[in-house]
Amino acid sequence: MPKPSRRSFLAGALAGTAACRRDDGARLVLTAQEARTLEAICDQLIPDDQDPGAAAAGGVIFIDRQLAGPYRRHQRAYREGLAMADALSRKMFGKRLADLPAEQRLQVVKRLERDARPFFQLVLAHTMQGFYGSPRHGGNRDYVSWRMLRVPASPVRGRIQYDLRSRQE
């Protein structure tokens, strides 16, 4: 296994920077508009109810960070898919997806599932990963999903403090 290349080292460093300023809205790959659209989709895939949903738990941060890393190959699919989602939304309801009420967002997302299946599947898989995966990657903020599922903290923490390290990533 080779040492990390300069590029992958830099990508890691960039991802670290993103985590530090995750609350000021800065992103690595997505534009502000793309992030709003994606958040509107995440919000339908795993909505808020008595527990926070994917959007509130950092779903967009998760996807944006992965698009700068392991999911670099999906950047184009997101660019085109998110533009298509907004175009579809405009066609159906005259507004961008993020500007629609929940009921109409749901209709647009259902249409995406039917008519833009590859993109929909991609966003669905990634949203699930962000929400149900470890918070270290930017989603599942404060373990909201694990608390919802009643997954306890590990009974034995182990000797290596992965969680502490990942907070600083």
């Binding site: 296994m1 080779p2 895939l45 795993i46 949903g53 749901l106 149900y132 995966g133 919802m148 009974p155």
Partner: protein, 546 residues
């Protein structure tokens, strides 16, 4: 410039290679153990539920390096694409010292006596190349025992009436039961079945100088943080190194097996960790690179005497690729079944491995390892949507109230399920990559349906309020249980290696991984790979002294 010669070069430091390196070096032979990956441990997977060997969405931490090791997968519609290790169609097994034994679930099954005589017992279905092994269970029995005691296995198979005779029990008692065990055991007994504690390559008590399992949820797919899971990386490979005769070289990608003018192997060439081409002369070459890479290396070792690849005169190398068809039944309960006590998998039955009416073979059935939340996302019954409010509700309601039961169905080998060299795609070093094509035999799916129905019965008897089954399709099988590509047999026209796993065509090249399996049992294959590697090593040592 060639390196100083060794007695044996062993290619691949996984299950088979680790055992071979240890057995040969303790017999006084100088061994070079070449591994394309590196030493790996819990500091690599870092308990990352999205980047481990079971859920590799964000990467496969135990290798191989995706930037250097693509493959080509052809689906059963003939569509081909380049795939990376994190992709299911890649059929990845880890590339690191210990390979799959670092991150596996560690079930330690002996195959049953019938598993070595599948053709004699059942007859070969049309479209399959089903065959008997050239060896019997009894030939392997002493080596199963050796693997169990040297590496360390816990469990209790005594209540299982179906297992083949064994001279000695397991060295460690089973781990205490978890909640799923308590729920499933009485149900199996009520059905007249014979439940027992799964044998596992996992310390339940201190053994071999290492402590017991700490019962965490980060087991299958991860390296053990307290070193209680027994693989070749923490047992036989350190023992080989301690002889002073075995050198483990990591980051080494073997290019080809080199022959002299008379057709005997003189050693191998390989790219070292700095990507320099090296020549390692050796009196013996032992290939243990896994069913896919072993076949690829033989096919890529072409010479005047072997223009189609080493051992491939009859176009058999790479054929009969198989893994297991894994059917599953899931039960939902109206009480908590999840207690967060790892490793999760705890109880099994072998009542449906053989003797199923109208069917050939079957599978062991066991409860699943702990599923992390991301692994539960797709476990929805028919009718529950895959996203939205209802999906979230399902997750919340049933994550702790569900039990999956599954089993590795013994597959009918298929000649066209195969590994070839891809004519276009090359790896980082410029070598043609493995091209995987073909699919499962339909009979394997029939068996899977039957086995899943039994799993469903078990869950219903245990009180499940809802059950459903998931049956695998006809896609190519391989993955971590990959086997069969260099079949063992007595006839050089229908097999690649002889009963001692030596190439029919080359005197001093042996294989000691699952590529030699004729069939793959209705069980996780690792203990059989280990036992057979002990057996093959004994033959190599004996040959040397003859």
């Amino acid at each position: 410039m060639a390196l100083p010669p060794v007695d044996a070069v062993v290619i691949g430091a996984g299950a088979g290679g680790g055992v071979a390196a240890k057995e040969l070096s303790t017999a006084g032979m100088r061994v070079a153990l070449l591994e394309r990956g590196r030493w790996a441990g819990p500091w690599d997977d870092r308990k990352d539920d999205l980047a481990n060997q079971r859920t590799s969405a964000l990467g496969a931490p135990f290798g191989p390096d995706p930037a250097r090791n693509p493959r080509v997968a052809v689906d059963h519609n003939g569509r081909e694409r380049v795939v990376l290790p994190a992709d299911g169609a890649y059929s990845n097994n880890a590339a690191c010292v210990g390979s799959g034994t670092v991150s596996y679930g560690a079930m330690a099954w002996r195959y049953m006596a019938q598993d070595f005589r599948m053709k004699s017992i059942y007859g070969c279905p049309e479209g399959s190349t089903l065959e008997d092994w050239p060896i019997a269970y009894d030939d392997l029995e002493p080596f199963y025992e050796k693997a169990e005691w040297e590496m360390g296995v816990s469990g209790d198979v005594a209540p299982d009436p179906h297992h083949a005779p064994r001279r000695r029990g397991l060295p460690m008692p089973p781990l205490p039961p978890n909640r799923e065990y308590e729920i499933l055991k009485p149900a199996a007994l009520r059905l007249g079945w014979h439940p027992f504690d799964i044998p596992m390559l996992r310390n339940s008590v201190p053994y071999n100088g290492r402590g017991p399992c700490m019962r965490c949820r980060w087991c299958v797919g991860f390296a053990c943080e307290v070193n209680a899971k027994n693989g070749t990386h923490n047992t036989v490979i350190p023992a080989a190194m301690a002889t002073g005769l075995c050198e483990v070289r990591t980051g080494c990608m073997v290019k080809e097996i080199v022959l002299d003018a008379r057709g005997r192997a003189t050693g191998v060439t390989y790219f070292d960790a700095a990507d320099h081409l090296q020549t390692q002369p050796a009196r013996l070459v032992v290939v243990c690179a896994g069913a896919i890479e072993t076949a690829r290396l033989l096919l890529g070792s072409r010479s005047r005497l072997h223009p189609r690849g080493l051992g491939n005169r009859y176009d058999l190398v790479g054929r009969n690729l198989q893994g297991h068809a894994y059917p599953k039944a899931v039960g939902l309960f109206d009480f908590d079944t999840y207690d967060d006590v790892g490793p999760g998998a705890s109880i099994a039955i072998c009542d449906f491995n053989h003797g199923n009416p109208g069917l050939r073979g079957g599978a062991m059935l066991a409860n699943e390892f702990i599923r992390l939340p991301i692994q539960f996302v797709g476990s929805t019954p028919p009718g529950v949507p895959r996203w939205g409010r209802a999906h979230k509700d399902f997750m919340r309601q049933f994550y702790r109230r569900s039990i999956p039961v599954m089993g590795p169905v013994q597959e009918m080998p298929v000649f066209e399920a195969r590994v070839e060299l891809d004519p276009r795609t090359r790896d980082f070093w410029g070598m043609p990559v493995a091209r995987l094509s073909g699919g499962r035999h339909p009979h394997s799916i029939e068996v899977a349906r039957f086995v899943a129905a039994q799993a469903e019965r078990w869950l219903r008897e245990a009180g499940a309020i809802r059950t459903w089954t998931e049956i695998p399709g006809l896609d190519l099988s391989g993955g971590q249980h990959q086997a069969g590509t260099c079949r063992m047999g007595n006839d050089p026209r229908t097999s690649v290696v002889d009963r001692n796993c030596r190439l029919h065509e080359v005197d001093n090249v042996y294989l000691a991984d699952a590529s030699v399996h004729v069939t793959n049992g209705g069980f996780n294959p690792v203990l059989t790979i280990l036992a057979n590697a002990y057996r093959v090593s004994a033959a190599m040592v004996k040959e040397r002294h003859a």
